[in-house]
């Protein structure tokens, strides 16, 4: 692709976001097909994607987007109601667009979109009767000039609402049009037809809104719609690279942005000009379709139009404008303006008038607010945030050292009392500020879980259809924020759990009815803050997990032995689904059931220093409870010394630290174990784990009791050093990761401590056990 990679990147980011939203909106739309605003939003998103794609000459992408857009346009005009088959088609269309995006990202050529799909989508729009967009009011097209004086009179009077169909204002006389042959580069030729049709459809809509502009009640909504439409228009017109068209579209955008503030008379004048601009654009785009570039000198028109718009509430310049421009007024059809004036004299009940401006003001404020919030976010490269976080971490370290020195000084007596007090105060302030700073920087990396959750309605819908089940997904707490890296790591495990709930949890509608449950199963996905952790619940009202069934399956797969099962509680049996190589799917499906699922889910969640638990009542459903820290960049850890080295052990994995007496420790088959209350705890020597020189075992008298997925182990260390919040840093790739460390951190004293990888530690224990 020969395009500026930066442009392409922008396109991918922006349109990518739109696509994500699209998925969500479409699924919502399926359940509420009559939601007009939603249809509009979906339509606009598709339109924007199409516009940008056409600008970049991505023909294949434009075709499919166009097809989907056509179908939606029909839905928008209530030509047909979006039902399931229609939604299937639409979603397939969106999927195709997504695939094209993936291809672009991978730097591959775009695939030709499935012709059948495009045709079906277009047929959806056309087949049910073409969506004849309401024709623009013809009266506006042939707007009038001599009405201006009356309009000035009318301004002083309260203007009526009823005369909305007409528009007062003068048309600008235009010079003769000239035609020259016009051709686009070969890549773009195929798109001309689409784009012309697209531009025309947009123009029709704009014309419709221009007519509404004269109506006091609808002015601001019409203006904002024009603004949107003109924005889309600009994108489409961009494709042709014809400057006058861009200029005209720009004028229409201005109309949109200023339109809301116009008085009735001004609106009439502006409306007439806008309509003229629309007509000019139509003329040009028609010409382009026929390979001709129709052009007229537009300088005068544009200048006077801008003057007219900038004039704001002062009507005078508007009247002067035509004479300032070197042109002759040719059209003068009385009608609209006169009717406006007549209506003005007729007057309108005061009460109605009184309420309107207020509503208008409120609406304006709302718009202004949303415009302002749009400017308050900026895109920042993740790398920059990361380095900022790094620096803050470093600052905290240095602060700790300075604080320590300060404390020493405060407790010594060589400095005067007053001085020591100031140092203590400054120290305290420094502490608070750095802590706040660290928090603030962490917050910049926080993102709402919504980002993940938004994808699931679509997922569940597709799964439910595939499995022939009725499933309702309820999402709560999507606004809960977690660190960006957590979001990235959490995606796969969550999808897997949701799939499991659909596949294994929720029963078929018939089975549900037979059990006296509602036909439609419900999966609840709920997130909430729990202290420094986030809890995510996945609750289904399906058949639950039967421990006996799990146990039998586990036995079949050789995950456990008969004797092991004998000692297991129901709870432990349920937890067997997390064992490697366990899969309960009766038939392997592409939904879930490759037998790696739950094992991987658990590992991934533990990688995040989180945990997963299962509660299940057979016949009533199950609850998966995932607890994860807010961030993976900072972790609460227990620092423990093993010989000369200090290691950081994730606090979340530690249940207790004990100092076993000699009598408690014994050896079973050459492996050290200890009796901890009523249980036997296997012990791992820290010196073995970290490959340190062994020395005397009595040098490591403390056992740090760690637990993971129902298993426990005691790690023998020299002594616990203390609890600390550690900033997790990655180890260089050249360092082998076979060792039981997951990263490193910098201690208060500037030294480096390795972070113990609990999962690998347990893996080491398992390797040891059979041997």
């Amino acid at each position: 692709m020969s395009f500026d990679p930066e442009l392409m990147q922008d396109f991918l980011t922006e349109s990518g976001e739109l696509l994500e939203q699209l998925d969500q909106d479409l699924v919502t739309l399926e359940s509420t097909p009559s939601e007009g605003e939603l249809v509009n939003r979906v339509f606009r998103a598709l339109h924007t994607i199409k516009g940008s794609a056409s600008f970049l000459g991505l023909t294949n992408l434009v075709q499919i987007a166009h097809a989907a857009e056509t179908a939606l346009n029909a839905a928008r005009n209530k030509v047909f109601v979006i039902d399931r088959p229609a939604m299937d088609l639409l979603l397939e269309g969106v999927d195709t667009i997504k695939k094209q995006f993936d291809n672009i990202r991978a730097g591959q050529e775009l695939l030709k979109p499935d012709k059948g799909l495009c045709e079906q989508l277009i047929a959806l729009g056309d087949g049910h009767g073409a969506p004849a967009v309401v024709a623009p009011a013809p009266a506006v097209v042939a707007a009038v000039a001599p009405a201006a004086p009356e309009a000035v009179v009318g301004k002083s009077v309260v203007v009526s609402v009823g005369a909305g169909q007409g528009a007062g204002g003068e048309a600008f006389a235009l010079a003769e049009a000239t035609s020259t042959p016009f051709s686009l580069p070969p890549g773009k030729c195929e798109l001309v037809e689409f784009l012309v049709a697209d531009v025309e459809a947009t123009l029709d809509q704009i014309a419709e809104q221009i007519a509404r502009l004269c109506d006091d009640a609808h002015r601001s909504s019409a203006a904002s719609t024009i603004s949107d439409l003109a924005e889309a228009l600009t994108r489409s017109v961009d494709f042709f690279g014809v400057d006058p068209m861009l200029e005209l579209a720009g004028l229409l955008r201005k109309v949109g942005s200023k339109g809301g503030d116009l008085s009735k008379d001004e609106a009439g004048a502006v409306g007439a000009r806008a309509q003229q601009a629309v007509d000019l654009l139509r003329e040009t785009s028609k010409g382009l379709a026929g390979g001709q570039l129709v052009s007229r000198p537009l300088d005068g028109f544009c200048r006077s139009f801008i003057e007219l718009l900038e004039a704001g509430h002062d009507l005078a310049p508007m009247v002067r404008a035509p004479s300032a421009a070197p042109a002759v007024i040719t059209a003068a059809v009385p009608g609209a303006a006169t009717s406006a004036a007549t209506a003005a004299t007729a007057g309108v009940p005061a009460s109605v008038q009184g309420s309107k401006p207020e509503a208008k003001v409120a609406e304006h404020e709302h718009e202004k607010k949303s415009a302002a919030s749009g400017e308050q976010t900026i895109r920042v490269e993740v790398g920059r945030l990361e380095s900022l976080l790094n620096l803050v971490g470093e600052l905290v370290l240095q602060k700790n050292r300075v604080s320590a020195l300060g404390r020493q000084m405060v407790s010594s007596d060589w400095a005067p009392q007053e001085f020591r007090e100031s140092v203590a105060q400054a120290n305290g302030a420094l502490d608070r500020v750095t802590a706040d700073l660290q928090n603030a920087v962490m917050k910049t990396r926080m993102q709402p879980l919504e980002k993940l959750f938004g994808k699931y309605p679509r997922l569940i819908r597709d799964l439910a259809r595939k499995l022939g089940k009725d499933i309702n997904l309820v999402i709560e707490g999507g606004e809960t924020e977690v660190d960006k890296s957590v979001i990235e790591e959490l995606g796969d495990p969550l999808i897997h759990l949701m799939r499991n709930s659909c596949d294994h949890g929720i029963e078929s509608p018939e089975a549900r009815v037979a059990r006296g449950k509602p036909r439609t199963g419900t999966i609840r996905l709920a997130a909430s803050h729990e202290g420094s952790h986030v809890q995510i619940l996945i609750i289904d009202d399906g058949k639950g997990i039967d421990p006996g069934f799990i146990a039998r399956k586990a036995l079949e797969k050789g995950v456990v032995t008969e004797s092991q099962l004998g000692t297991m509680t129901d709870r432990e049996k349920t937890l067997l689904i997390f064992a490697p190589g366990f899969s309960t799917a009766e038939a392997l499906s592409d939904v879930s059931g490759r037998g790696v699922g739950m094992d991987v889910v658990r590992t991934n969640i533990e990688k995040l220093k989180g945990s997963i638990e299962i509660d299940s009542t057979p016949g009533q459903g199950s609850t998966m409870r995932i607890t994860i820290p807010l961030t993976v960049a900072i972790m609460a850890a227990m620092m423990v010394a093993v010989g000369p080295e200090v290691y950081a052990v994730p606090l979340s994995a530690i249940t207790e630290i004990v100092k076993p007496s000699e009598g408690q420790v014994s050896t079973i088959r050459g492996q050290k174990v200890m009796r901890l209350r009523d249980t036997v705890l296997p012990l791992l020597d820290g010196a073995d784990v970290f490959k340190l020189s062994k020395g005397d075992a009595s040098e490591r008298p403390f056992a740090v009791v760690l637990s993971s997925a129902g298993k426990r182990v005691g790690l023998l260390v020299t002594r616990p050093v203390g609890q600390q919040e550690v900033v997790i840093k990655p180890l260089d790739g050249s360092i082998d990761r076979k060792g039981a460390v997951s990263g490193a951190t910098v201690r208060d004293d500037g030294g480096v401590s390795l972070i113990v990888d609990i999962a690998k530690l347990f893996a080491a224990l398992e390797r040891r056990e059979p041997g």
Binding site: E394, K729, P730, L731, S734, I735, V741, A744, V746, G751
Partner: protein
């Protein structure tokens, strides 16, 4: 940014094995000693030179990786160059230094017996490496600089710390 500078950032200096140097090339080098031999690397690749500091050993890391250090918040591996070259290990002394370089967009430190000086030499006194010049594998040598009184072995950092080399070291 010129291409040569970019390259320097990526592969660790513009001194590469198999390259011939002409009189027009002005080389600015950091020289250091290992045992009785003197080595040099391109100054552009060198980020800083530190005194020895406490290293944290990493279990099951490649043998020549001596450990990791904290370089202003970044954890970087430190390689013992003696081990890398298969020279007999010696105790670290007051003169020992950790030279921090950027190679292949990674930051790596290596321990040398001593750092001598920063030197500017002309390319015309640099000759391609003879196959059996010293204890070091000829693959890592970009050339030999003939100074008046001594020889200077120019190291190709890109190769010395290439990903394959590290993999190979791991496998061994």
């Amino acid at each position: 940014m010129s291409t040569s500078q970019q390259q320097a950032e990526v592969v660790g200096g513009k001194i590469a094995a198999g390259q011939t140097f002409s009189a027009a090339d002005q080389l600015q080098l950091v020289t250091f000693g290992l045992g009785s031999e003197e080595f040099a690397v391109d100054i552009l690749a060198v980020q800083e030179i530190n005194r020895m500091m406490a290293l944290t050993r990493v279990p099951q890391s490649p043998p020549e990786v001596e450990g990791v250090i904290n370089l202003r918040g970044k954890i970087i591996p430190v390689v013992d160059l003696r081990k890398r070259f298969g020279l007999p290990a010696t105790d670290k002394s007051e003169q020992s230094r950790i030279v921090v370089v950027e190679v292949h967009a990674r930051t790596i430190g290596f321990i040398v017996d001593r750092v001598s000086e920063v030197l500017r030499i002309s390319g015309k006194i640099v000759e391609p490496a003879p196959s059996m010049v010293c204890s070091v594998d000829a693959d890592f040598i970009a050339g030999v600089g003939k100074l008046e009184d001594r020889l200077l072995i120019l190291l190709d950092l890109g190769r010395l710390f290439s990903v394959e080399q590290i993999e190979a070291a791991k496998a061994a």
